[in-house]
Symmetry: C2
Subunit: 200 residues, 2 copies
DNA sequence: TGCATCTCCAACGCAACCGTTGGAGATCTG
DNA sequence: CAGATCTCCAACGGTTGCGTTGGAGATGCA
């Protein structure tokens, strides 16, 4: 049934999704055309519709896929102190630097302000585990508890993500200083460290 | 020449720009149609082209206008201590809450990743004054100097802006806690305070 | 009042894109 | 090899949106 097919349907799907990630990340939902996704994948446009439905559905599929990837790539198990929070912030920044598509997809999605997002349940669950890790660390006095765990976790992600959300602002604010991706990462880790350090 | 005209050209321009802000903020450059802007303003589409040029030019005009507004609305003159930084962060958050269009326009712009941004010179200048205010406060030991002034200023803006950049993430991360706009503001002000407080 | 000028708009040409369809070719089954 | 089934695609209809144009109405000027 599905073994030994010469026309390679799984491979075709994979190529289409890969192309869709690139196009959607670059141009958003409105700016992307199905035509270009298909052409980039070297596949006929019609395959998109039979495999993935219409354009919004494809966008949702692609975004869910990328989120699953980041969940696997940047685990957050145990926070044994402020330094662990700083390292986590650095990892997130690093992941964004290497996979700018995900950030951009998230931002496109945020701007669409849908009442419900695709895969809402599993994503809520994903974030809940992050918040829970922060909460546990607070309860054991390993990190500061002056902020609610959800706020602290959210703000740490803000520090790491803002560079990619408004790159034009980052560029203009650092116009006359000598700033590099490395110094940006160091700065945000320093900031995360202080947010997580308990008061004496 | 320009007094006493029965057909009210300045008013028409104003209405078109107002409609354009709303449409571009809601749907971005790609998702907005000139037709809908004109219809929302109650004016014929052709006026857009004679007054503002094509769609990208209109977008640039509208964004520059909104940035001038925020520059006037949230001044940052003198930072005499960490509390002033926290208040500034709170004001920025507040402004975003009341004028979500600006944030959204900035984010749409960021996603377009143009090599150069409209009004680049004056905007760079605008950010430079913000950074300079932070730098002065650092030199007089009023606030922490463990981060470069540009990074500190940028990260403070990150704290205030991230809620509006990824509202879906904010919602999901705070799913099971009781979180309000007021508590979000309090959290980010607390965070800004700690980033700006000098080490002993 | 005749002429020039300016504001405004309905209607249009044109291009792009969405989503579909009819059918060609490849693979399995008997 | 004949028939059924599946993958793939070139071509198409219909819609939408961009940017323009030709002209109608309102105003200033001689």
């Amino acid at each position: 049934m599905l073994a030994g097919m010469a026309w390679n349907t799984e491979e075709t799907k994979r190529k289409l999704k890969e192309a869709a990630v690139a196009e959607f990340a670059a141009h958003g939902l409105g700016g992307t055309t199905m035509e270009r996704i298909a052409r980039r994948a070297g596949v006929n446009k019609e395959r998109l519709y039979t495999y993935f439905g219409d354009k919004p559905q494809l966008f949702a599929t692609v975004l869910a896929d990328e989120l699953n990837k980041v969940a696997a790539a940047v685990p957050l198990d145990h926070l044994d102190g402020p330094e662990a929070v700083a390292r986590y912030a650095g990892s997130v920044y690093e992941y964004h630097a290497e996979h700018p598509e995900l950030t951009r997809l998230l931002l496109w999605e945020g701007l669409l302000d849908l009442p419900e997002v695709p895969d809402e349940a599993s994503r809520t669950d994903y974030y809940r585990t992050k918040v829970a890790a922060f909460a546990r660390a607070q309860q054991s006095n390993a990190i500061s508890d002056r902020l609610p765990a959800a706020d602290l976790a959210f703000l740490v992600l803000a520090l790491a993500g803002w560079w990619y959300a408004v790159p034009q602002m980052a560029r203009m604010m650092h116009a006359d200083s000598s700033s590099t991706p490395a110094s940006a990462k160091a700065a945000l880790m320093q900031a995360a460290l202080h947010l997580a350090t308990p008061s004496k």
